[in-house]
Symmetry: C2
Subunit: 661 residues, 2 copies
């Protein structure tokens, strides 16, 4: 054990284990998680080469092997609880992805959701036994977010009772679905349904794409991998071009809408249920943000505790880089963010489950709020985390660029969350739509409830920036509840400003749609402020339930740092709305420095509490024992370019070059 | 040619070619650059596979081949002017690096700088003929910025008249030098010199590391590649462990200091010349920022002109995504930044050459200012560009993640500039040291000249935030010169605040060093504001020299957008210092929207003016002809995972899995 990191742990003011329980949701959860993780790291079948040493094809190969093993082992151990499966998989995957992901996360759930009973009876056993390996093919090369724009067609032929599927243009080629390129033999294809000369819009079809025995592509199917990406090397994101592909009528997924044998189209009863999956996945992504950020902070903070560099006082030994105020200022606000997002992730899971029960009982009242919240928080937390991972990486100096640090992997595997499952700007605008709608309702005198209820009050104090700026602010900057209030009022102000911008555009005779587009900057800003408020609020609420005094104290410091740092970073907003005064902004800057000093002795303990096992972290810089340099040297020597002492390019190019000069 | 992009070009209000001349520095320069670029793209010897389709070893191999060819061709064509060599190399390299980089950029110049005449006569011909292939080994695994901390030792043995070099610890292993792992047969090694029992500090030694005939590592040399990184796949950044390696006394680089045969150490005359190289390299990096950002904007803006998505007005065709206000707000400020940094790059080159002449004539007066400026602007432009590339990538939706977009490559090849040649936070603090020193001089009544002369005035109006906030600001927000003034005053305020923070710490009986560290956040902020001011000022100055009315008009719009966007992003600073009022901040937000609309018809033309050849851009999204989708499909089909229709993992893992379930 590195002596620096041992000393750090001795200096902690709280019991790390107890904080881990809070993060896991209780000691029993921690215990069970560790049991499951131990199943993986003690299993020789999961020993492997660092994927960074392998070619793309070898990486894919290794990942398929691991996924197949994982399926067998989960059944062998009888692990079936989704949370437990998640822990097992996280441990196997490390910082990489798995090629079968969509079979389990999208294909099987879609079969359950969209098949009528007869179809379910046919397809589910095939999928559960991996005879059928499937994916979900929605996005096309030229079309993403806007589903009505999809071009793939499925035309019903009553003569043979078949659908004929086509990709009529290059831009209609299905593009991006995970596991589509090489792994899957079936795909749920979203296509515009034509029958008897009419278009009935987007419907889902089960399309066999590869022979189930030979795995060769079927006639009319052009399928393959979309090529190397920024990360996701383990996944064969694929393309699919359909050329007069015929499938039986029964392969249209008929739970809600149908095509009769004669071609008659039967409409679906209206349904809000499809909403649910999106909300669930987006809520999950909030948790993913927290985990990616926790890993990154663990690496950067442990490394900063063992790395010595330069000098603060001349003549003294090089200090730990964690002693530099600039390093603390880079990392501790991110550490506080990791805690904040962890609690927001828990909060999202809780309300998702609560509202799911309401929905099961036919009560859809709270769905729009949850939808808006999950969209906005997905965007807010992924954007923040995305930048934060890179700050962590760069805070490690040169070694952060080495793949051995794991930070490049964490970044490239995480960054797609900003785009998939709803592009972030689009998400922010969806949340803004809900906020503006709520604002208008409040304006009309309707009493709002739930998370937007603060918009009721904003009606009582019309925003008049000039007057407000000179108003005496009453906030107590050292009181977290008071800061929550300030964030709330900032959100209210910005929602009001966005709503007013739309109104002004309308007064200039713009159409509703153009008024919306011409206010989009303000709308995104309003959503951002709303989400920021929710995060600060949830962190504050969480503190109320923490009984342990030492832990309460350190978490309060983190929460205060999170809130104050957000104010300094957006001080213009708060000053503009007259919510804090200029002297208060200066006081906050001074207080932040004090909070950094207070957190310094607990920094390593606070990342230890995330309890990310070394095998899962897979980072030489973030090792629990702090023995960074020996292990980096050992890792480098195993690197494939070192397999031969003399690279063949010497004989091929360098030696001949000399004689030619 | 894609009709959307043709229409965009028809809508431009200015002559693109003329703007290219301004960016290149004159029509003759543009012509010559194009001639040189044409030499490469018409040369079949440089046809190659997309490096993203190759393994690490293949990438290295291909890069060595190209580097060797490049050397021969440059000699063949007689291209010797550094700028022309730069153009040729940029075209060959595309978005990648070259493994020989350090031989030319560091090894040979160091030989010139540090060898005495006899040594130069021996080594330079060997290096010029590539018999000796060298690198510059300074950084160690445990030591970067702080040179005094380096641990490698060179101990003189008078008995044999040799130096004995050692890496006494794991952390002393040389780590990171480019070309060290596999390519070089010599290295300039920086080591602590010991002679007759005394340590004389860091000195440079020429160390043979591989046999010049067999290329095998020499006895006592442990050398290799440091393993995969985030980018720089073409470069064999290496490690070097020295185990009692003996080199003749004559291999110490003796231009300035010497060790006599008997071991007597002869001190160097003090020299400021070493300063020069760092300043030059950092000035170059400012230009690299501009180029990376120009490429990224070219890709994102062209793609946004051909990509159609969603709807603004219901029922109408999907609009170009460049019509969304949010997309304009993401990209146009970055476009203005690309122009700003291009002009700052030109400015740095000009003053570097001007001051170099002064130095050659023995006048070192302006060197400290240039040093501070190059350090700060290196940090400012690389940090800004680093984030900006990622915004460009994410503005392309899913396709930005594809390696075919080139944006991932541009990012990973660029991001190390934030760390190498002076870690950015350290750079900002160096600039701050100069600013605070200048401030103190002004405080003492000394009249400052040059770029910091604004600190003279700040002494006349002591910063009193509260009073200032209520002062009536006099800025005309639509006048760029007025905004330059505002940026200047913001910088003055923040320099003053940082200086006062140090003073306050000293009054609390902190040592000078602790006071500095405890004010580091404020110091970085002050440097940032200073650099921001310089950029706005240089942009404004540049406009004065633009004669063409149409070009002057569009560049003025860009400059205004750059300045205004910076104010909204940092509005807290400007409000706090009372430099703009709350209503003005709101007016600026409205004006920014107007500027976005004004720039919209010229956006494609403005990136066309960067004149980045398709072969150099290597991006399917950024193609000049806008034919994105067909080419993306073609690229994907060439991807190596598609070499076989059925990947071997099907037979190995997927088929067996079924039978086991």
């Amino acid at each position: 054990m590195n002596p620096d990191i041992t000393r750090e742990r001795q200096n902690a003011s709280f019991d790390v284990e107890k904080l881990t329980y809070i993060l896991d949701g209780g000691p029993e959860k921690t215990k069970r998680r560790r049991q499951i993780e131990a199943l993986v790291f003690s299993d020789p079948d999961f020993n492997e080469d660092d994927p960074n040493f392998l070619s793309r094809s070898e990486r894919y190969d290794q990942a398929v092997r691991k996924s197949a093993q994982m399926i067998l082992k989960l059944r062998e151990y009888g692990i079936a609880d989704p949370e437990e499966i998640y822990h097992y998989k996280s441990m196997v995957k490390g910082n990489q992805q798995e090629p079968f992901g969509l079979h389990v996360v999208m294909f099987i759930p879609s079969l359950r959701r969209l098949c009528d009973p007869q179809q379910a009876k046919k397809w589910l056993p095939l999928a559960d036994s991996f005879q059928v390996l499937g994916t979900y093919a929605q996005t096309e090369m030229g079309h993403g977010t806007h589903l009505r724009g999809l071009e793939t067609t499925a035309t019903y032929d009553p003569a043979t009772q078949e659908f004929v599927l086509n990709s009529p243009t290059v831009s209609s080629i299905k593009w991006w679905p995970g596991g589509l390129g090489k792994t899957s033999n079936h795909a749920i294809v979203l296509a515009q349904l034509y029958s008897l000369g009419n278009c009935h819009g987007l419907h889902a079809f089960i399309v066999p794409i590869r022979d189930m025995t030979t795995h060769q592509p079927l006639p009319g199917i052009v399928v393959g991998d979309i090529g190397p990406k920024f990360g996701f090397n383990e996944v064969d994101n694929g393309f699919l071009k359909l050329e007069n592909v015929r499938i039986p009528r029964e392969n249209m997924m008929m739970k809600y809408s149908k095509v009769e044998p004669d071609g008659t189209y039967v409409k679906p009863p209206s349904s809000k249920l499809t909403y649910g999956t999106m909300v669930f996945v987006r809520s999950m992504i909030v948790g993913e943000s927290a985990r990616a950020l926790s890993k990154s902070c663990t690496i950067a903070i442990r490394y900063s505790a063992v790395r010595h560099q330069s000098e603060i006082r001349p003549g003294e030994p090089e200090p730990q880089i964690l002693d530099y105020q600039t390093q603390q200022y880079k990392l501790f606000p991110l550490l506080s963010m990791a805690y904040a997002f962890t609690f927001v992730g828990q909060y999202m899971t809780e309300i998702y489950h609560r509202i799911s029960e309401d929905i099961n009982q036919g009560d859809f009242n709270q769905l729009p709020e949850l939808h808006a919240l999950s969209a906005g928080l997905k965007a807010f937390t992924t954007w923040e985390t995305n930048s934060a991972i890179e700050v962590c990486r760069m805070s490690c100096g040169g070694h952060g660029y080495s793949r051995s640090s794991a930070l490049p992997d964490i970044y490239v595997e995480f960054t797609p969350t900003c785009t998939y499952e709803g592009e972030n700007t689009v998400m922010m605008l969806q949340t803004a739509r809900y906020l503006v709608k709520s604002y208008r309702q409040a304006e009309k005198g309707q009493q709002l409830s739930g998370i937007v209820s603060y918009l009721n009050e904003s009606q009582n104090r019309r925003v008049q920036p000039q007057a407000v700026a000179s108003r005496r602010p009453l906030v107590d900057i050292n009181d977290l509840s008071s800061l929550v209030e300030v964030y709330q009022q900032r959100a209210a102000t910005l929602v009001e400003m966005a709503a007013k911008s739309i109104q002004q555009e309308l007064q200039r005779r713009k159409s509703q749609e153009d008024a919306w587009n011409n206010s989009a900057i303000d709308l995104v800003r309003a959503s951002d402020a709303h989400c920021h408020y929710v995060v600060v609020k949830v962190f504050n609420d969480k503190l109320k339930g923490v009984g342990d005094t030492a832990i309460h104290s350190v978490l309060s410091t983190l929460a205060l740092l999170y809130a104050m740092h957000g104010i300094t970073k957006n001080s213009g907003d708060f000053l503009q709305a007259g919510l804090v005064s200029v002297p208060q902004v200066l006081q906050i800057s001074v207080r932040i420095k004090e909070l950094l000093s207070q957190l310094r002795p607990n920094a390593v303990a606070l990342v230890d509490a995330f309890d990310v096992h070394d095998k899962k972290l897979n980072s030489v810089l973030g090792r629990y024992d702090g023995n960074v340099y020996e292990n980096m040297f050992e890792w480098a020597r195993r690197s494939p370019l070192n397999a031969a002492e003399v690279h063949e390019s010497f004989q091929k190019y360098l030696k001949p070059l000399r004689s030619k000069l």
